[in-house]
Amino acid sequence: MQETTPRQSLSRPLIIFIAIGILLMVVFSMIPFDFFTWLWGRLNVFATVFLGIFVEAIPYLLLGTLASGLVEVFIDRGQMSKWISHRPVPAALAGAFMGMIFPVCECGVIPLTRRLFNKGLPLSAGVSFLLAAPVLNPIVVLSTAAAFGWGQMLAWRMGISLVISVVVGLVFSVEQDAANVLHPVLTLAHEHDHSHEIYASFGEKIRAALLITADEFFEMGRYLILGAMLAAGLQTFISQSTLLAVGSGPVFSVLVMLALAILLSICSTVDAFVALGFLGTFSFGSVLSFLVFGPMVDIKSIIMYLQVFRRRAVVYLVAIPFMMSLLAGVIFNYLQP
């Protein structure tokens, strides 16, 4: 008897789905043919760009959620707070340096950071880690070096990202109560009911970690999909070429690159190759600001941030890196035009 309830609750969305489908078909049959070809072209761009971001991001999201699952089962609650100082400056620095070890990009770092908070990581350390990890990790260092060589661009990218992540971490250290910043974590009964003694064997631990990975993959995947749809939608309807045409002058060109960083939503592990393409038309400073800001903030990461942090905190997470990247870009544009 228990079986019938879920079936009923499932059939309702299905009926709504079919009804909407029929309605759409009726509406479409009344529209002239030209509009169709236009729409079909748009739809193709949308689908290709959306799946491009999705296919590219999924392996990274899997790695990030796996890291999070492993942290959950192998690190005891509160252990992080023993390892990392609670004084603001050392905590923020420690968070940023942790970012150098974990090879995660912006999709993967968000679930991992949330998990680390759960394990007692101080707020400022976590925020620094969140912003630093997508840039400072070894994969990004290598890909940036592959695109720009072991030179100034790499050094400044890493240096400025480190400064920004530590500064934002310090800003968050003012907040004493993490609950004001973070959303409470909704977890499966599984995770908090059983303490660690229950995962007796190593195999059991791995199994538990994989279950957590799967849950988090779906939870974060939802926001990745939303973000990728939004980014693909914007790319389908907002003209990038006019955006690039607007971008001249030491301040405007930086603003355009920052807007592009948000719009394109490219994974930080590969954005250096994309940035390389802009170097011909944009100044060093503008491209640098793209490389610094892009990994910290873009459409999909904003949507994923909103899942972990309260809205006010997300404003800080977006606005401070934005202002600092802008400032850095503009200063470079004036120093070496």
Partner: protein, 247 residues
């Protein structure tokens, strides 16, 4: 949603995603979405999704053996079922909308270039080393961009593949031979184009893929000297296995 049902859907969706990715790799359509440099990552993804799906299936089997009252306290703890519905979106988009690489319909928002802004690590020496008929659209555009004197290239044989794009800036017997350049995934793709000149241009169709053979000339468009191929032959070809060029 009870946990057992949630887990079942999770398992099915993980399996579906795994099969979806695997079929894209097998059909070669993965090249429509990402730079093929990242295929190893996708393959890792496929394997990991399979492992997760397998873990889910064993978990469902195990929970069947456990006490029934376990279901009771589970009800309130399952994550939102909307998480599952969202995962259907990429699957539906991938299945319902026929896979096509980016084409000229993306030009209106993504724009296209006749001179490539790509410089950086590349030098013309690498491109010059290759036979002139081996160069692709991107190579030619880079060459015309990097070299101040383009006269050595005039008259060289060329053979390039691209899709046809008609533009008002060209005359009746000319068309653009276009390609998308993708560094990471389709999201960062941008189009480049060189000019083709052929008496029977009017028989060509927008967005159709062609192999253009002929000799290289130059033409000035919007104050830029860009490469033009005076075509001896223009053959229709199927969509290449790698529709995008990688910088």
């Amino acid at each position: 949603m009870p946990k057992r049902l949630y887990r079942s859907f999770q398992a099915l969706l993980l399996l579906a995603l795994c099969i979806f990715f695997a079929s894209k790799v097998a059909s070669g359509q993965l090249a429509y979405y990402i730079n093929l440099r990242f295929v190893p990552l996708t393959i890792f993804g496929i394997i990991f999704l399979a492992v997760l799906a397998q873990t889910m299936f064993t978990e469902i089997k195990r929970s069947r053996h456990l006490a029934v009252d376990d279901d009771e306290h589970d009800h309130e703890h399952t994550p939102a079922s909307a998480n599952l519905w969202f995962m259907l979106v990429p699957l539906l988009i991938g299945i319902l909308i026929p896979a096509r690489p980016l084409d000229s319909s993306a030009f209106s928002t993504k724009g296209f270039n006749t001179s490539s802004p790509l410089v950086g690590a590349d030098t013309s020496a690498q491109i010059l080393g290759a036979d002139s008929e081996e160069r692709n659209v991107l190579d030619w555009i880079k060459l015309f961009n990097l070299e101040s004197d383009t006269s050595p290239f005039i008259g060289q044989k060329a053979s390039v593949i691209g899709f046809v794009y008609f533009d008002e800036s060209l005359s009746e017997n000319q068309f653009f031979i276009s390609r998308f350049v993708v560094s990471c995934c389709a999201a960062d793709g941008f189009a480049i184009a060189m000019v083709g000149e052929w008496p029977q241009t009017s028989t060509l169709e927008q967005d159709s893929w062609v192999l253009v053979k002929g000799t290289v000339q130059s033409i000035t468009l919007k104050d830029q000297v860009v490469p033009l191929i005076k075509a001896e032959s223009v053959q229709p070809v199927p969509v290449p296995e790698q529709p995008y060029l990688f910088p």
